[in-house]
Amino acid sequence: MTDSAAAGSSHRDAEGPYYGPYGGRWMPESLIAALDEVEQTFGEAREDEEFVAEYQRLCRDYTGRPSLLAEVPRFAAEQGAARILLKREDLNHTGSHKINNVLGQALLARRMGKTRLIAETGAGQHGVATATAAALMGMECMIYMGAEDTRRQALNVARMRLLGAEVVAVEHGAKTLKDAINEALRDWVATVENTHYLLGTVTGPHPFPSMVRWFHQVIGEEAREQMLAQEGRLPDAVAACVGGGSNAMGLFHAFLDDAEVALHGYEAGGDGVETGRHAAAITLGRSGVLHGARSYLMQDEDGQTLDSHSISAGLDYPSVGPEHAHLADSGRAIYEPVTDAECMTAFETLCRTEGIIPAIESAHALAGAARLSAAWTAEDPAAAAEKIIVVSLSGRGDKDVGTAAEWFDLLDAEQQEQQEQQEQQDEDEQDEDEQGDETGVQA
């Protein structure tokens, strides 16, 4: 795919378990055998032509790949002089990039003889994708989701249930993504014989960071080829949002050896990093271990994990994939926070100028691209007009319409009341789920 990989020295060669000082496998002994099995199966499968062909067939015929690389001139014109192209992962089946990894791991689970998939989910996109793959392959499916997130993303909870998955609202801790991962790990420790934990991002113990990235590499590989075919050159910058960082790693990977392409990751800045209410792990974290990997981590002086905050459930995570931590230290990629307010401005602009409703997660990357274009334009408008930014539009925003309606005050009083009633109903349902959860964990 690339013509520039220098032997031995390329970031593209990073296969884990370590990325500089990050990564590794900080896990209970009870899970080591399962991780070894996943590592070995993945290692064999990626070299197996039949497996790769089956995966590619699903990506094409089920997901609808390749996804488009499309220019958004009206959006770009409001930001500055640079051109902006979107990698339209939102057009994938299930509405986000998550399906790339899920189909790959579900095929691996089948290869290992597992009959049950479990997963954590934040915004619900990974949960929906996992429930979809389970339906497609006739597997049992259980999704762990923070109770706070089941409220913000009620529509995705319903989607997962329609797809036949059981959704467990996790009431521990901050009731968001990290707590959902804790609960999924507890499930896996007890059910590892028949269950695969389909981790949804490039965090976690080895081999997850390198394996999940491998299944998402198609994003950057396609974008790079499309740029060369459509524009006859590489972009000046690529931009992606970073929670755990799977769509960003998938996009970045193909460009790691292209020194002329700047790599920009945008973390959730929440109310602003100075308020403490954010999820900007690289910006304000320090090295620590959570969920099996060493990486940047939001933690207090004792090493207790801090609660993260973001308007976007999918980025509401206090750590980040270890490969991102390494790319940040090495300077190859640049990571900056985007606040809720900046992100929602970009969200609204894309809706209004292009007729595309982005996921709030992806809107962080749009806001970052807007910032880049504005800065270049201020410096040298003529030069900026020659520049191209590729943004990963990692997901679509149907699930976020309720949040946006609230943010922009788009509902009249009667609708407001209806929405509140709906939220109350959701909470009542969650109470029932909790009782179910309790017996499940006790077993």
């Binding site: 590794g24 496998r25 900080w26 896990m27 209970p28 002994e29 009870s30 080591i32 055998a33 399962a34 521990h172 801790g173 990290k178 707590d179 804790n182 790990l185 507890r186 420790v189 007890a190 059910t191 590892v192 014989e193 620590g288 271990v289 959570l290 969920h291 099996g292 981590l297 933690q299 002086e301 004792d302 090493g303 207790q304 994990t305 309790e438 964990v441 006790q442």
Partner: protein, 258 residues
């Protein structure tokens, strides 16, 4: 040499398996947790495990999670652990281990953590999310301060891994009896016996079994093949429901002194 190994061996010399009891540090408050740990030792525990509350305890079941979440919510700090260990070691002859998730040691620095634990009279640490593969810094710090380190062995651990676990451990090897998180169960899986035998074969001097032990009959059954029996959730539930007296009574029952 090893405070923990001596405590387990002393029990073996009496013709019984060691009784190892877990309680969370600072639950429900610092003074009560000290009193409960001392009561546990006075009622038959040869080794005490003081669990350090952690924000993301993936190996703990609901009872222990609920207790440690309460402790964190009231503003627990790491300094408390060393105060508790010092108070308990001053009052009993039991070996006192801490049980901790890795990031708490990592944040303090393994060397500082080991020094402070040793100064408090602690025997060493059980590290449920640390395997020998990632334990280089911890083993070095523990060696420097003559501390025991207890690693977990699982029913799924290969013979090669068992050897590494046995080599890296000092004090005993913690055999996970059931694939699962902590929590009281009515039956202990027969996987426990296989783990003990595999760990012994791999060279472990002492293998103690935990996760799922809640009754005297479990203790007797496991004591038939393990060097020690570890009880956690049942004691935490007793402390929650009946305070220090209930811990004393449960410990006496489990150790066969009741």
């Amino acid at each position: 040499m090893s405070i923990t190994a001596d405590a387990v061996e002393a029990a073996r010399a009496e013709g019984r398996s060691a009784f190892i009891g877990y309680l969370p540090a600072g639950y429900p408050d610092k003074e009560t947790s000290i009193a409960a740990a001392i009561a546990l030792a006075e009622n038959g525990a040869d080794v005490l495990e003081i669990g350090i509350p952690y924000s993301d305890p993936v190996m703990d079941g609901p009872v222990i999670q609920q207790a440690t979440t309460e402790v964190l919510a009231r503003g627990f700090r790491m300094d408390e652990v060393f105060e508790i260990v010092a108070a308990v070691t001053a009052a009993t002859d039991a070996a006192v281990l801490v049980m901790t998730y890795w990031n708490l040691i990592d944040r303090m620095g393994p060397e500082v953590f080991a020094r402070r634990l040793a100064e408090a009279g602690g025997a060493g640490a059980i590290t449920p999310d640390l395997t020998p593969d990632e334990a280089g810094a911890w083993i070095a710090a523990a060696e420097a301060h003559d501390l025991d380190r207890v690693f977990l062995a699982a029913p799924t651990s290969t013979p090669e891994r068992m050897r590494r676990i046995a080599e890296a451990s000092r004090g005993f090897v913690y055999g996970v009896s059931l694939m699962g998180v902590t929590g009281a169960r009515t039956e202990v899986s027969d996987a426990a016996e296989r783990v003990v035998s595999a760990a012994h074969s791999a060279g472990a001097g002492r293998v103690c079994v935990g996760l799922g032990v809640s009754t005297r009959s479990h203790v007797e059954e496991i004591g038939g093949y393990a060097d020690g029996v570890i009880v956690g959730t049942a004691l935490v539930a007793a402390l929650r429901d009946g305070g220090v007296e209930a811990v004393a009574a449960k410990a006496a029952e489990l150790s066969g002194r009741a």
